[in-house]
Symmetry: C2
Subunit: 219 residues, 2 copies
Amino acid sequence: MKKYVPVLMKTQMFAGVGNDEVSAMLSCLDARLYNYKKGEYVLRQGEHLSDIVVLVEGTLHIQNDDYWGNRSILGQIAVGEMFGEAYVAPESGALLNDVVAIEDSTVIFFDVRRILTTCSSACRFHAMVVQNMFFAISGKNRKLVQKLGHMSKRSTREKLISYLSEEAKKHNSATFNIPFNRQQLADFLSVDRSAMSNELCKMRDDGLIEFDKNSFKLL
Amino acid sequence: MKKYVPVLMKTQMFAGVGNDEVSAMLSCLDARLYNYKKGEYVLRQGEHLSDIVVLVEGTLHIQNDDYWGNRSILGQIAVGEMFGEAYVAPESGALLNDVVAIEDSTVIFFDVRRILTTCSSACRFHAMVVQNMFFAISGKNRKLVQKLGHMSKRSTREKLISYLSEEAKKHNSATFNIPFNRQQLADFLSVDRSAMSNELCKMRDDGLIEFDKNSFKLL
DNA sequence: ACAAATCAGTTGTTTTTACAACAGAATCGA
DNA sequence: TCGATTCTGTTGTAAAAACAACTGATTTGT
């Protein structure tokens, strides 16, 4: 376990916590290390979870199979990222997705109750971890709400307007660069790339926006 | 402030905390009470927030104006609900929405750092509040991810398949009732009601599902 | 520097969705 | 109970998006 302390130190969860403190907290947080071979399941749909999990080696996929067996990959988890935090609330019910190792992987499970219940003064940094976790989920929440705001628009143009307006607000300027190329933006907004490209040009023709590559200007 | 302790006790934030304890914690959490007349802004786009806010009287709307001034109402906040929790992380940047009182309203602001930094032993229930907050936002997260999973599907049929599959998993059964009528389900999935109704019937004709009112069965 | 790969825009066709308008069934209220 | 309202399904039409295929521009790697 000690081997992975440097990895843990770089995670959001342990941001600002020193090497020795992380080591000291491992037992206090009931950290358990597990290895998975490529193809093995880390978490299964239907299971109940009361741990927050951090990937310290390898790569994982979050997968979803619908009732008729169609599989879709919802996301990829890279080293240092945490998952499971959305399912740890007592009332959250069973997991609805699978988490699978797509290469040999190692994860560390942390009991959420041990995280949230500050223990003896032995771990002075415990409160810091709680804050880190809270802000991490809070930030995730914000991103989800924002994305949902765009996605809930019916037309491609409305989605673009929603997204671009928000970027302008974030940058506090009508001119800004976006962190996506066209395909990525289309994927982000769940629309067809060529249709979106087409719509962007129409919006330019209508005098709503100007753009050049990743640089946009709202008029 | 004391007047609203019974309201606070019913909130997710203070679940399981007794009357006297809530009262005692108000100062420890730096609770500040504000009144707003109908039409006044509780929070404004562009502001920075480091408080979690609980509505104790009235009704609020979360509004969003795009760059060209088109307003959309993202949601309504009822008595006992909290908001702002997605923006309290230090790195979250400015608010992107407005919160407006649509009738005379009263809210209580709680400094998030005071919540997360457990104080002296005076408030034994402080840890409980931290847990409550954590689970609340974690649960919100889960709902958002799930909804996003449906919304990211391109066609109405795929959205329905995604939603119905998930309901089946939740109920652990191929037969279940949904908590929406047709219009509400259409709004939830951001599609047209009549088109959705049409698609549901096609899915029935294709032998995928059976349904009667709110009761569905996957085949 | 050059070939290969990636990226952005364009066009035409097909499919899907939104929209509007309506009808029958179910529900609600007086 | 009766009228009004709400809910659900149906249909036709218009609008929009997806899809496929292609072009030229830009970037990348050797």
